[in-house]
Symmetry: C2
Subunit: 212 residues, 2 copies
């Protein structure tokens, strides 16, 4: 015990983890490698081989978890968008957070992701969705729709708080937010700044959804 504590720990959990990743760490490395491959080469050029090489693992480790490239790509995108209102988890909002603050936080986090390294990966996935109607349908069902529903639940919570008019708690609001940010950042490749995000929420969105 004393010896082990003073000797350089050549086989500490950290080190062996670097040599051979397992479990959650391996899954994360594979998803990160998938996003990086999408960003570099586009959806059409991503292969299980290229992801395995980048994640320093074997193809079997990937196929065991994701039978198809499509499932791997959508799961990797899902992991990129995590946290309240970005992931598909239930609303984890503190009840002191107003609808306005939650919406501003949402557009801030989504736009930061789109402007970061994940933006090029989103471009690849959107390109595939434009090319292939079947991919588009899976993307809609597995990815977009649960997130749209999360924003509708936020708006319904806003109705109960008296901050949102009842007929504004519809799919049009999340579609408008997603469309505006995708169009600016992912499609037109232009950044959006903090003042514009505040104008989007306080200038356009809140007056539109507040009780009349």
């Amino acid at each position: 015990m004393t010896l082990a504590a003073t000797t350089p720990p050549e086989t500490s959990p950290e080190d062996s983890g670097r040599q051979r990743k397992r479990g959650a760490e391996l899954e994360r490395a594979i998803k990160d490698a998938t996003i990086a491959e999408l960003a570099c080469g586009g959806y059409g050029n991503v292969t299980i081989e290229s992801v395995a090489a980048r994640a320093q693992t074997g193809k079997a480790s990937i196929y065991r978890r994701w039978p198809t490239k499509q499932e791997l790509v959508l799961d990797a995108l899902d992991a990129l968008l995590s946290g309240p209102l970005l992931s598909t988890e239930e609303l984890p909002l503190d009840d002191t957070i107003s609808t306005r603050d939650a919406l501003l936080s949402l557009v801030q986090r989504v736009s930061a992701l789109m402007m970061g390294p994940g933006g090029e990966a989103m471009r690849s996935i959107m390109g595939e969705s434009l090319r292939d109607a079947a991919f588009c349908a899976v993307f809609e069902c597995d990815f977009f729709d649960p997130r749209k529903q999360a924003v509708i639940r936020l708006l319904e919570r806003g109705v109960r708080r008296g901050e949102v008019r009842p007929d504004a708690a519809s799919g049009l609001v999340p579609e408008m937010l997603a469309g505006t940010l995708l169009h600016r950042i992912v499609i037109r490749r232009r950044p959006i700044n903090e003042d514009e995000l505040v104008e989007l929420v306080d200038g356009l969105l809140m007056p539109a959804i507040s009780p009349r």
Copy 2:
């Protein structure tokens, strides 16, 4: 003269026009063929040869007018979107038309185009724009920006009419409209109905841009 009038007119202006189109008619046939080729095969598969074959003309007729495929494609898309607020022409609005009616007419016409045969061509062009940053920059400059400016001019006219608050006459409104319709119809391949367009304009947009 009498003989000519009773004999089947084998070389009437209509017939010779079909055999060999010229001028504006030929240009229109080439642009229509370009949109059809984009819709069938995607941007990457469109060639001057395939457009010439579909338009029943020679490659030289196309190269004489459009030195590159990119110029031809953007011109064809430009021709698809014509008329008030859709084309890049100056505001040709009757002064009795309200801002609300002009915006509703705009979203009705844009969404009808996106849901029609031109929608698949738009998907191809957007896919190319996602793949190629240089194409994206030309598209922004030649296509999107002049249309955004036309909507800003409509909003400025609304400010003068007392229908729009001065700080709403910015680029965010046309970006939001374009983004919402592109996201719903072109990206997610879902139709939008008349009630939703009215809700978009009367429920969300007008309350956001009207004087407070």
